[in-house]
């Protein structure tokens, strides 16, 4: 028996992990996420914004299918919050594979909000604008930060409409009119570009960031130094943000972050179990091998 367990086929472990992930999803099982102060900071930043003061939130979705699992739920909860607060949003990306999300995410949220509040309207051009994929990396970010007329600098949205004809950009001139920069990515380089270049000598916009789990330890440095005003740590950050939204808006349709976060927790417990189990079996096996060596 011990021999069989020590030589356990790795595919059996894969099966257990997949089952641990699949069962909470199949039964839509969810637990309340842990409280995350950094996500709360992000929430408070948006909650304190007054839509009457004008300006826009610049939201950069720099993720593709490879980090969609964590970044998309983060982007959804923040965009939903901005839309609920009626803060105009300009969406863009520096990552080509994210173009699809720039269209699908706000449209989906607007449709949900209009179902929740019959009679109220969230519409393209007034509540959000899709600027599409913007190549150029740091040169683009720097030129945007220094621009005297952002609408002229960015010219057109993804559909070819001049930004001067869209009400989102009516009162937006310089970086000072960007009241919030929200960036979601698993790519450290794109995030660094905004930290380094999206500022002027006398103005740095409020910066909220959604990172993948891999980059959490690195992102904390920026939170500690005050370069970030809020942080969503992987899917757990999105889940806690979602919980905060649900507490405030009781009729809100729950998003996927809760179930993903629960499934992730169950999968972690499974892995911790296998790590402990493997070490115990390894120790027992080592002791046995050692005693055999001694006896021979």
């Amino acid at each position: 028996m011990r021999n069989a367990l020590q030589n356990l086929d790795r595919r059996v472990i894969y099966l257990f992990v997949i089952l641990a992930v699949a069962l909470p999803i199949a039964f839509q099982y969810r637990v309340t996420p842990a409280r995350l102060p950094s996500a709360e900071k992000f929430y408070d930043v948006i909650e304190s914004m007054d839509p009457k003061e004008g300006g826009i939130a610049l939201v950069s979705l720099d993720f593709g299918p490879n980090t969609k699992a964590e970044n998309e739920p983060q982007a959804k909860v923040v965009i939903e919050h901005l839309m609920r607060r009626r803060i105009p949003i300009a969406l863009l990306t520096q990552y080509a594979l994210a173009e699809g999300f720039l269209k699908s995410v706000p449209e989906e949220i607007a449709a949900d909000l209009m179902r929740e509040y019959p009679g109220e309207v969230w519409e393209y051009g007034k509540d959000w604008v899709n600027l599409g994929f913007r190549p150029g990396n740091l040169l683009f970010v720097q030129s945007l930060a220094k621009s005297k007329d952002m609408a002229a600098e960015l010219k057109r949205d993804v559909f070819g409409t001049s930004l001067k004809n869209l009400s989102v950009f009516r009162n937006v001139k310089t970086i000072r009119d960007v009241r919030l920069l929200a960036e979601f990515t698993g790519l450290v380089g794109v995030f660094d570009t905004y930290i380094q270049f999206f500022q002027t000598e006398d103005y740095v916009p409020v910066f909220g960031h959604g990172c993948t789990s891999i980059t959490i330890p690195e992102a904390y440095i920026y939170l500690d130094s005050g370069q970030l005003d809020g942080l969503l740590e992987g899917i757990a950050g999105a889940a806690w943000y979602s919980e905060l939204l649900s507490q405030k808006f009781s009729g809100r349709k729950e998003d996927s972050s809760m179930v993903i976060n629960t499934a992730l927790g169950v999968a972690h417990l499974t892995i911790i179990f296998f790590v402990l189990f493997g070490n115990i079996m390894g120790a027992l096996g080592g002791r046995k091998a050692g005693s055999r060596r001694v006896s021979s």
Binding site: E70, P135, I195, Q199, L264
Partner: protein, 236 residues
């Protein structure tokens, strides 16, 4: 093909691709190999099209040819054509010197373009480094004894700051190779730095496992909800 049928087909293909990639977990197989090559091919084809569609055409050729100027129904134009935009031709030509790298005779011309790119990137990196690091440097100067407005010492916050400063100095000292570390205290500090880094690497590794599992969760969710739904629709 209607929009709904198109979405269903996309979901079905997505599900099959996901299963094909995960089939590698069982063992190497032709099904996995086929999809691996398919992904590489798509990625290789995607980039040139994207560069042309999102950069060269709208940012370079369209303005140079004046095609971005629209005529309104009242006969007026959305903008004026400035012939100075034709100056784009010079940096473009200069950038094209990169391709001289394939010629033995004109290879030296590529060095001009590479040198320019290196210089420009170096300058920007220099500026970026200071913009990123200076606030972090400033925030590392933390008070070792934190006192609130009432004059009371905040024990926990003070301990946190002390630990932060010790970690910072210990790790920096570990990487300080300018002279030989002889003293016992120096060795202990350097060893502490090493252990603290190990804790950090453990955190990084844990985060990596978490991120990889999140990818799996998203795929399983896609298979169990979207893919299953699409399959049910087809079978029904």
């Amino acid at each position: 093909m209607s929009a709904n049928a198109w979405i269903t087909a996309t979901v079905i293909v997505g599900g099959i691709s996901t299963l094909a990639v995960y089939s590698f977990l069982i063992k190497e197989n032709p099904f996995y190999r086929f999809f691996e090559h398919l992904f590489i091919g798509i990625a290789a084809g995607f980039l040139p099209v994207l560069t042309l569609k999102s950069l060269l055409w709208p940012r370079v050729f369209e303005p140079m040819l004046g095609l971005d100027i629209v005529q309104f129904p009242d006969g007026t134009f959305s903008g004026e054509y400035h012939s100075s935009i034709l100056l784009y031709f010079f940096p473009m030509t200069f950038g094209m010197l990169y391709y001289c790298i394939y010629s033995k005779r004109f290879g030296w011309l590529a060095k001009l373009a590479i040198g320019f790119a290196l210089g420009a990137q170096g300058g920007l990196a220099f500026k970026g480094f200071f913009a990123e690091m200076l606030p972090q440097l400033g925030s590392s100067f933390k008070p070792l004894v934190v006192i609130d407005q009432g004059g009371h010492a905040l024990i926990w916050q003070s301990l946190e700051n002390c630990f932060f400063v010790f970690t910072l100095l210990a790790v920096m000292y570990y990487f300080f190779f300018s002279f030989k570390r002889d003293g016992k205290v120096g060795e202990v500090v350097a060893m502490s730095g090493r252990w603290l880094m190990m804790v950090c690497f453990g955190a990084f590794f844990g985060s990596t496992v978490m991120a990889r599992l999140a990818l799996l969760v998203e795929r399983v969710q896609f298979l169990l909800i979207d893919w299953y739904q699409a399959l049910s629709n087809i079978l029904a």
